[in-house]
């Protein structure tokens, strides 16, 4: 390269690039600040939200302290605010709902991906997704009109006979109660679990399936040993989303769980969850009660946040391994 072309090039660089850079830099800065603004706005809303709920519940925390978490009696009329029965009912109804919904949901997702012909696939998938579109109050009505009689006359007596009335199938077959709430919740969270795990499984490379078959695996071996483990992180995500929905579900649960805040003795017990108690008691609450209900809201938020954080950690760990 001779002297003149070199100087020409350097002059062009000197005159052109700063201008180009400047123009791009300005539009970049605009986007960056807009996005930062949105991020700050949402963070502010979240903080204000958490602050106001904690603030509202503060008198209850200072007055009752740990009783809110460990007290076994919830009786707002006499200013007794033991939250343990509500926490237990919330956790138990969610766990039992998962017990029903996870196997059914995963099975459905596998069948949708690997067994059904394409036309049936579409029909079945859209039916499952329709389940998600039904309002929870309708699930509640269905629980009351259809499931209560069925539970009290058929299922619960049968379970009681089968187990000889032993825990967790002890007590009177009332129909309404924790078991019914779990059943309704299971149906409600099924679409979430099916839709997400189906997508996760469908997104796995086709090669995995064919690779395993080419080693002489049977179809069930492929599903159990290759497909499910490979989709594990996404499936855990699906389950935790379902759990989050079940923990916070309000209307359907309060319609079928019996609305009686007592320590659960069996799955047949009537009960009340954190969410259903807040919804039913808020309208007629005294100022003291309002603070206690705010405390329940804080507990519920911590519970759902913990489920989410736990699931995220699992997803991140397995995700890091499989990527």
């Amino acid at each position: 390269m001779n002297q003149s072309t070199k100087s020409l090039l350097s002059r062009r660089n000197a005159s052109d690039s700063p201008r180009a850079k400047g123009a791009r830099g300005e539009s970049d800065r605009f986007y960056v600040w807009t996005l930062r603004g949105f991020a700050a706005l949402f963070s502010a809303i979240l903080l204000e939200f958490v602050y106001s709920i904690v603030h509202q519940s503060w008198p209850a925390w200072t007055h009752e302290g740990l009783t809110l978490l460990t007290g076994t009696t919830w009786n707002p009329a006499n200013s007794v605010y033991g939250g343990l029965p509500l926490i237990l009912d919330t956790v138990i109804s969610t766990l039992v709902a998962l017990l029903f919904a996870v196997p059914v949901g995963l099975g459905t997702a596998l069948v949708l991906n690997f067994v059904l012909p394409r036309r049936l696939q579409t029909i079945t998938a859209s039916m499952v997704e329709l389940l998600a579109a039904i309002p929870s109050v309708v699930y509640g009505l269905w629980g009351l009109y259809v499931l209560v009689p069925w539970m009290s006359t058929t299922i619960q007596p049968w379970l009681g006979r089968l187990s000889g009335g032993a825990w967790p199938f002890s007590g009177d077959p009332l129909g309404a109660g924790i078991m019914l709430a779990s059943t309704v919740l299971a149906v409600m969270i099924l679409p979430t679990i099916v839709a997400i795990s189906r997508d996760v499984i469908a997104a796995l490379p086709k090669d995995l399936n064919e690779g395993a078959l080419s080693l002489g695996a049977s179809r069930s071996q492929v599903l159990r040993k290759v497909i499910l483990p490979s989709a594990k992180s996404g499936i855990l995500g699906a389950i935790s989303l379902g759990a989050g929905r079940a923990l916070g579900e309000t209307v359907a649960v309060l319609m079928v769980i019996g609305g009686n805040a007592q320590m659960p003795r069996s799955l047949f017990s009537v009960g009340a969850t954190l969410a259903s108690t807040i919804a039913t008691e808020y309208t007629e609450a005294s100022p003291g009660n309002v603070a206690a209900l705010g405390a329940l809201a804080v507990i519920l938020m911590v519970l759902t946040a913990a489920v989410n954080a736990f699931a995220r950690r699992l997803v991140r760990r397995t995700g890091a391994l499989s990527s």
Partner: protein, 276 residues
């Protein structure tokens, strides 16, 4: 069967280089998907302990033929394989052999390395044996070591068998897939463009590996890379897509003949790079 073999030989379709009986025979094989013919009347023989290459432009049915050999088309709705596909004289589609057993006798290596992502290197290698019901640790250990040695991977992974397969490079992952297939001790290994996603150095290692493995296993390779076919294969099948988009076998011959003295003018054009 002998009649159709004679007829095929007279057609000029079957002229391989054989020292022993063929291991795999294809006679008038047709593959169709929901009525659309993808491969028509393909006949050739696969000699034991040789590498047979399937070459031809895209759409000529190379991979379709390969996948019919271990019945992977069974997964595709509407797929139909007709004609005779004989493994040691037994038709693999006519109830002579169970599909799972067939697939452990005819292994496969895919275009993209596909180790099981959640499993360790060790578990990947022995996965085929476990699918086939082998549980004994000493047997699995032995098989894993021997398969990894055969796949020229033992030296670099023997100290980290518990590591995830995804920690390996692309070329290593592909050799892991070869080791995984070899661990089941198949008679035939199908290779569907095994180096198309790899860099030149990794490609060379896989090609060297194929030559080393010839005394253990018969290989059938689909490749877009004519130099690769010329370098590694003993026999070569050249396919082309006909007017109606069905793949047809144009010429089957020893590789040296295909590349230096082909009978069909279309083969001449293809190996000289005039199309495809």
């Amino acid at each position: 069967m002998n009649d159709s073999l004679d007829a095929a030989i007279q057609d000029g379709a079957v002229v391989g280089e054989f020292v022993t009986d063929p291991l795999l025979q294809l006679r008038k094989v047709n593959v169709s998907f929901s009525g659309r013919v993808a491969v028509r009347d393909v006949s050739f023989d696969v000699a034991p302990n040789k590498i047979t290459a399937l070459i031809g432009p895209s759409g000529s049915g190379k991979t379709t033929i390969l996948r019919s050999l271990n019945r992977l088309h069974d997964l595709t709705k509407g797929a139909k394989v007709e004609g005779d596909l004989l493994l040691g004289g037994v038709d693999i589609y006519k109830g002579g052999i169970a599909t799972m057993l067939l697939r452990s006798r005819i292994g496969m290596v895919f275009q993209r390395p596909n180790p099981f992502p959640t499993l360790s290197i060790y578990d990947n290698v022995v996965s085929g044996l476990r699918f086939n019901g082998i549980r004994k640790k000493s047997l699995l250990d032995e098989a894993a070591e021997s398969a990894l040695i055969s796949a020229a991977l033992w030296d670099s992974v023997s100290s980290r068998m518990k590591a995830h397969a995804s920690t390996l490079s692309g070329g290593e992952q592909q050799r892991l897939c070869i080791a995984r297939a070899l661990a089941v001790e198949p008679e035939i290994l199908l290779m569907d463009e095994p180096t198309s996603s790899l860099d030149p150095v990794s490609t060379q290692r896989i090609e060297e590996l194929m030559t080393e493995l010839k005394n253990r296993v018969t290989m059938i390779i689909v490749t877009h890379n004519m130099q690769q076919a010329a370098r590694v294969s003993d026999n070569c099948a050249f396919l082309l897509m006909a007017e109606d988009r069905a793949g047809e076998l144009i010429e089957f011959a020893p590789t040296s003949k295909i590349f230096h003295d082909p009978s069909d003018p279309r083969t001449v054009d293809y190996v000289n790079g005039r199309f495809g």
